[in-house]
Amino acid sequence: MTSAMTLSAPPTPPPRGAGRFQRWLYRSGSGLFLLLPAAVPILLLSVFPLVRGIYLGFTDARAGYRVTTNFVGFDQFAKLAHNALFWQSFRIGLVWAVSVTVLQFLAALGLALLLNADLRLRWLARTLALVPWAMPPVIVAIMWRLLLDPTVGSLNESIRLLHLGEGTLNLLGQANSALPTVIVIGVWVGMPQTTVTLLAGLQSISPTLHEAAAVDGAGTWRRFVSVTLPQLYPIIAAITSLDFIWNFNSFGLVYVLTAGGPGGNTMLPMLFAYHEAFGYGNFGYASAMADVMVVLILLIMLAYLPSRLRRSR
């Protein structure tokens, strides 16, 4: 836990020294020149693109030479409102992001509780749990494709060996199973980070709270519900929100796994907008889609976070 504290607040310096220190600090300039090397690329390549990206949604921007871009107000959004394919993709995106976030949280909480208990093989689970976090998403996708492949994969042979069926499954290639399969893989990818975060939260709960509850006669479950969970609420709120945003915005994993197929069954909004922008060159239209995604993420966060944070008090 000591290492986890490195990013928390420093001990406050004695006030009388601080004033003199600040004067010494400001003696040679206000320190803004120290910020400049970071500020220039941030303003040019992050803030400006962000603002322009939002703005592009209100234009008819297209790819290509000598194309003029005009401001068209809400035209793109009006067009988008009638684009059934986009809304279908949006639904898929929500199903994907919510399922992965929820399942990943439950799985991670379970693993974190196990890692917090005094078990053998804990080191192995700890190390293994970090591997998916470190792997490039593209490699993760390749790995799962090899695992689930109908011929070189392990799945069908296992089914045959266990006499569970003929073993002709193609989980990623069949319309009804593609999305659930992709969701399971999404859980595999995102679980480690959530586990590590929750584990840190678990370890920062003071044991005296548990002891007090035990003295009062609370059993394991009761202690979990009335001590562990309330203590974890702020961390749960933070990590599930971040997970949701990351999942909703994820691209590489599903792009390599299914490329949105079969039949658009795993076409996440990011993939949809990517095809619109770089497949058809409709930059304005794709930006409008991204704008809609941002607004909906913000709305969901606004609905979710206050209620979570209130419970944590």
């Binding site: 290492s3 986890a4 504290m5 490195t6 990013l7 607040a9 420093p10 310096p13 220190f21 010494w24 600090l25 400001y26 003696r27 320190g31 910020l35 970071a38 690329p41 941030i42 040019l44 390549l45 992050s46 400006f48 693109p49 990206g53 799985a107 379970g110 693993l111 196990l114 804990r122 689970a125 190390t127 293994l128 970090l130 470190a134 792997m135 490039p136 490699i139 390749i142 799962w144 090899l146 070189v152 392990s154 590590v196 584990l199 920062s204 044991p207 702020p234 933070a238 990590i239 945003i245 909703f248 590489g252 792009y255 390599v256 990011m270 907008a273 922008a277 991204a290 704008d291 941002v294």
Partner: protein, 278 residues
Amino acid sequence: MNRTRPLTRAGQYLALLAYLLFLGYPLLWLVSISLKGARELASIHPSLIPRSLVWDNYRIALTDQGLLRSALNSVLTSVGATVIVIVVSVPAAYALTRFRNGARTAATLWILISQVFPTILIVIPLFLLLKSFGLLDSLPGLTVVYVVWTLPFALWMLMGYMASVPQEVEEAAAVDGAGRFRVVFSVVLPLLTPGIVATAMFAFISAWNEFFFALVLISTTEKRTLALTLAKYVGSEGQLQLGPLAAGSVLATVPSLVFFLFLQKRLSGGLLAGAVKG
């Protein structure tokens, strides 16, 4: 505390075993395929343990011109981005933690915002911007994008480490008459080194693993990064056999994994500790 009952213990081990299987089995399968010969891969009864260990796949992957070229491109962009990120963010982190002005709020706000917005929103203007600078489909262009992409988190981490360097040390040095640059270079930097190393590793992993920007910004085959080339191999351009593909995937994971295991201790919970308590 009270002792765990044997039945509960058994349940816990069973659950742990299930987790180990879920987390570890796909990895084992990847390694297994990377060690199988072409003939065994064609067999209709694949098994986890290869009948005979074949290192050919690794030899093919390590001599494949496309893969080697992409690996070099990945090293260049990741190392380049990491160096620039560190050079740029260490002074910024110092200024943001020590000076009391509005910049800190602005920086925190930007860090948060950059986490929420989908990359698709930023990538179109970036594409247009790089095109107007003639940096589209170029490794320097991609490197610059990676700098900005990893900067929020690097800055966040460094600000955390910086805050844990006691200000008293600087004050003492200042009282002894050292100038500000002396203080920063000979007092602050040595104390900050572990934090800088951790941040550099993190920046490297982020750039090494990145795929989306490379997909959009790079179009020439010779300029592809490793992630991009492997993704193309597994897709419609499947020129590589499955065995070498698996071997290449294992090799491509090694750099991130090695750095990550180093980082493990620091990462344990530290990332959100600041965010939650802040």
